[in-house]
C-alpha cells in the first residue's frame, strides 16, 4: 500500500445505488497532495459515478468524501469549484456557441470579477495547454483533441487545488496523447493535485504515482502502477476469471 495523506482528499466507504444496480460499492481511497493519482478499471466499473460523487454532481447512497479533513459529501459543484476542486467531463462539454477564449474565461471569472483580468487569465491558461492559436475559434469548430484541451483549460482557469480529469486522453491518437501527457505533468508541477480516470494505460504508467483500480464498483487494488498491473485480481478484472493463472502459466512454460 502507498502512503496516503488523509488530510487532502479522502473517499470513505462510498456506495452508490441506482435502483437495483450497485454502481459503487463501499469504495475507499486517498489522494495525496501534489500527486497524480489514477483511477482505472474496466468499462462500467463505476469510475465516472465515483467522479460525479467527488465533484458534487451526485449524492452517494452512503459514505463520505473528505477534503482536507472537511466533510464535502454532496456539496453542490459550484461550491466545490470555489473551494478548489475542478473537474472535466468524459464527454466534453464546451459552451458551443462561444469562442475558445470565452469558454476558458467562464472558468477564470470564478476568481476574477473583472473581465480584463478573467480574459488575461484565460489567455495565460490557453498558453499552458497549447490553445493560443485557437483562442478566437468557436469551441464547436475544434477537433476532438482541441476540445479536450478546452475542457482542461476551462477547469484550470478556476485555479483549482485538485483537478479531476475524466478520460482526457480517450479518443485521442497516440501522437495527440504524447502531446498532452507533458501538459498534465506540468499542471501537477505547478502545484495542482491531479486525480485522473484513464483508459490509456501507457499514459497511466507514465504519469501516475499511485493508481486505484475499480472493478464492479469495488476498489480491488491500490499501489504504484507497476504493483497494480502485477496484481492477479486486476488482471482478472480486465481479462476474465482465471486469466492471471493462465498468463503466469504461459510465462513459466
Amino acid at each position: 500500500m502507498i502512503e496516503a495523506d488523509p488530510a487532502f482528499l479522502a473517499v470513505r466507504n462510498v456506495s452508490m445505488r441506482f435502483g437495483g444496480l450497485l454502481a459503487v460499492s463501499d469504495a475507499s481511497f486517498f489522494v495525496k497532495e501534489g500527486s497524480i493519482t489514477g483511477l482505472i478499471g474496466p468499462n462500467g466499473a463505476g469510475k465516472t459515478t465515483l467522479f460525479a460523487i467527488v465533484s458534487g454532481f451526485q449524492k452517494p447512497t452512503s459514505g463520505h468524501v473528505l477534503w482536507k479533513g472537511e466533510e464535502i459529501t454532496a456539496r453542490p459543484p459550484h461550491l466545490l469549484a470555489r473551494a478548489g476542486i475542478a473537474r472535466t467531463f468524459q464527454i466534453v462539454q464546451p459552451f458551443a456557441g462561444l469562442s475558445v477564449r470565452e469558454n476558458i474565461a467562464v472558468g477564470a471569472f470564478l476568481r476574477h470579477a473583472k473581465r480584463d483580468d478573467a480574459i488575461a487569465l484565460a489567455e495565460k491558461v490557453a498558453e499552458r495547454v497549447g490553445l493560443t492559436a485557437e483562442l478566437d475559434k468557436p469551441a464547436a469548430a475544434l477537433t476532438v483533441a482541441g476540445r479536450k484541451r478546452v475542457e482542461l483549460a476551462k477547469a484550470l482557469a478556476t485555479e483549482p487545488k485538485l483537478l479531476l480529469l475524466d478520460e482526457v486522453l480517450a479518443g485521442l491518437n497516440p501522437s495527440e496523447v504524447r502531446d498532452i501527457v507533458p501538459v498534465v505533468r506540468a499542471i501537477r508541477d505547478s502545484g495542482v493535485t491531479v486525480l485522473m480516470i484513464e483508459h490509456v494505460m501507457q499514459a497511466v504508467m507514465n504519469l501516475c504515482e499511485a493508481v486505484h483500480v475499480l472493478a464492479q464498483g469495488r476498489i480491488i487494488a491500490s499501489g504504484t502502477p507497476a504493483e497494480v498491473v502485477a496484481t492477479p485480481a486486476v488482471v482478472e478484472a480486465y481479462l476474465g476469471h482465471g486469466a492471471a493463472t493462465r498468463l503466469s502459466g504461459q510465462r513459466d512454460a
Binding site: 462539454q93 464546451p94 459552451f95
Partner: protein, 316 residues
C-alpha cells in the same frame, strides 16, 4: 469591434432622436412610440431568453405588474407617477424573482418553464380582470393632467424621447452585461448548465438575477405603456399578446445580442404597418405577418435577420 458596438448604439440613438422632427402625423408618432415600448419589452425578454437561455412565454406578468402599479398607485393613492413607475419596476423584478425561484428551484427548463410562465401571466390576467383595485373588466384610467412633473407631456415627441432614452439605456445595460461576469455566467448556463456548475457558476443564482433584471426592463415597458395611453385593462396589461411581442422580436432580430430586440421589433412592426396600409385593416393581419416572418427566419439558419444579412453578403 467593441467600440463599433458603442458607436452603433449611439448612432441609433441619434438617428432615432430625429424622428419627431420629421414625423409629425399623430398616428405615425403613436406607431413609433408603441414600437419603441414593445422594443423595450423585448429587450427585457432578451436578457432572460437571449442571454440566459430560459424562454419565457409569460413576460406579460412583468409588463402588466408595472403597468397596473403605475396606473393604480397614482389614480387611487395619489402617488407621484414617477415614484409609482419606480415602485412598479421594483415590483416587476420581485415578481420575476419569485416566479423564477418557484420554477428554477424545481429544475424547470425549456418548454416546461415556458408553460409555467404562461400560466403565471394568465393567472395574473384573470385576477386583474376580477378584482376591484384594478378596475376589473372596465379597466383603469389615468386622469389626463398634462404636466411634465406628472409624467405627461404636451407633445408626443417628448414622450418618444423618454421612451427612446429608456431603450438606449437598456441597450447600454445589455452591452455592459455582455461584458460582465454575470453575463458570461448567464451565457454559460444557457450553453451548458452542468459544465457551468462545474466551473463554479451558481446556476440558480444566475438565473434568478437574469429573470429579475429581465422582468424589471419589460416592466418598465409596461409602465411607459400605461403612462402613454392612460388606459389599461387586464387583456392589455397581462394579455398573451405582449408575451408574444416580447419574445418574437428578439428571436427574429437575434436573441442574445444587443441589437436583436431593436432590429426585430422595428422590422416586424414596420412590415405589419406596411401590410395594413396595403390591404387595409384586416383583423389579425399583423399576426399573419409575424407568423410568416417567424417561419422564414427560423427556417433558414442562422435563424435571425442579422445572420441572414451576413449570409447574403458573404454570398452563400
Amino acid at each position: 469591434m467593441k467600440d463599433r458596438q458603442l458607436a452603433l448604439i449611439l448612432g441609433f440613438a441619434a438617428v432615432a432622436a430625429l424622428v419627431p422632427f420629421f414625423v409629425t402625423a399623430g398616428t405615425w408618432l403613436n406607431f413609433a412610440v408603441f414600437t419603441l415600448i414593445l422594443c423595450l419589452a423585448a429587450q427585457g425578454w432578451n436578457i432572460l431568453g437571449g442571454y440566459g437561455g430560459q424562454y419565457s412565454f409569460g413576460h406579460a406578468a412583468f409588463f402588466g405588474t408595472t403597468a397596473y402599479l403605475t396606473a393604480v398607485l397614482q389614480s387611487r393613492y395619489g402617488i407621484n407617477p414617477y415614484a409609482a413607475f419606480a415602485i412598479g419596476i421594483a415590483a416587476a423584478a420581485a415578481v420575476g424573482w419569485v416566479i423564477g425561484f418557484l420554477s428554477f428551484r424545481s429544475g424547470l427548463k425549456g418548454s416546461y418553464f415556458a408553460l409555467v410562465t404562461l400560466a403565471f401571466a394568465e393567472v395574473f390576467r384573470v385576477v386583474a380582470n376580477a378584482s376591484d383595485i384594478t378596475g376589473g373588466a372596465a379597466g383603469t384610467l389615468i386622469k389626463l393632467d398634462v404636466r411634465p412633473e406628472n409624467f405627461q407631456f404636451a407633445s408626443r415627441g417628448t414622450f418618444f424621447w423618454v421612451v427612446l432614452a429608456m431603450v438606449v439605456l437598456a441597450m447600454l445595460l445589455t452591452r455592459a452585461l455582455e461584458r460582465s461576469r454575470l453575463g458570461a455566467q448567464m451565457v454559460a448556463v444557457r450553453e451548458n448548465e452542468d459544465a457551468a456548475r462545474a466551473l463554479g457558476v451558481d446556476a440558480l443564482q444566475v438565473k434568478l438575477s437574469a429573470i429579475a433584471l429581465s422582468a424589471a426592463i419589460t416592466g418598465a415597458a409596461g409602465g411607459l405603456y400605461a403612462q402613454y395611453f392612460l388606459y389599461l385593462d387586464a387583456t392589455i396589461a397581462y394579455g398573451t399578446w405582449i408575451s408574444v411581442e416580447a419574445l418574437l422580436a428578439p428571436i427574429v432580430g437575434g436573441a442574445g445580442t444587443v441589437f436583436g430586440p431593436v432590429v426585430g421589433s422595428i422590422v416586424l412592426h414596420s412590415l405589419s404597418e406596411f401590410t395594413k396600409s396595403l390591404v387595409g385593416r384586416i383583423p389579425g393581419i399583423d399576426l399573419v405577418i409575424f407568423g410568416i416572418m417567424l417561419i422564414l427566419v427560423v427556417r433558414f439558419p442562422p435563424r435571425n435577420i442579422p445572420g441572414l444579412i451576413r449570409r447574403w453578403r458573404s454570398g452563400r
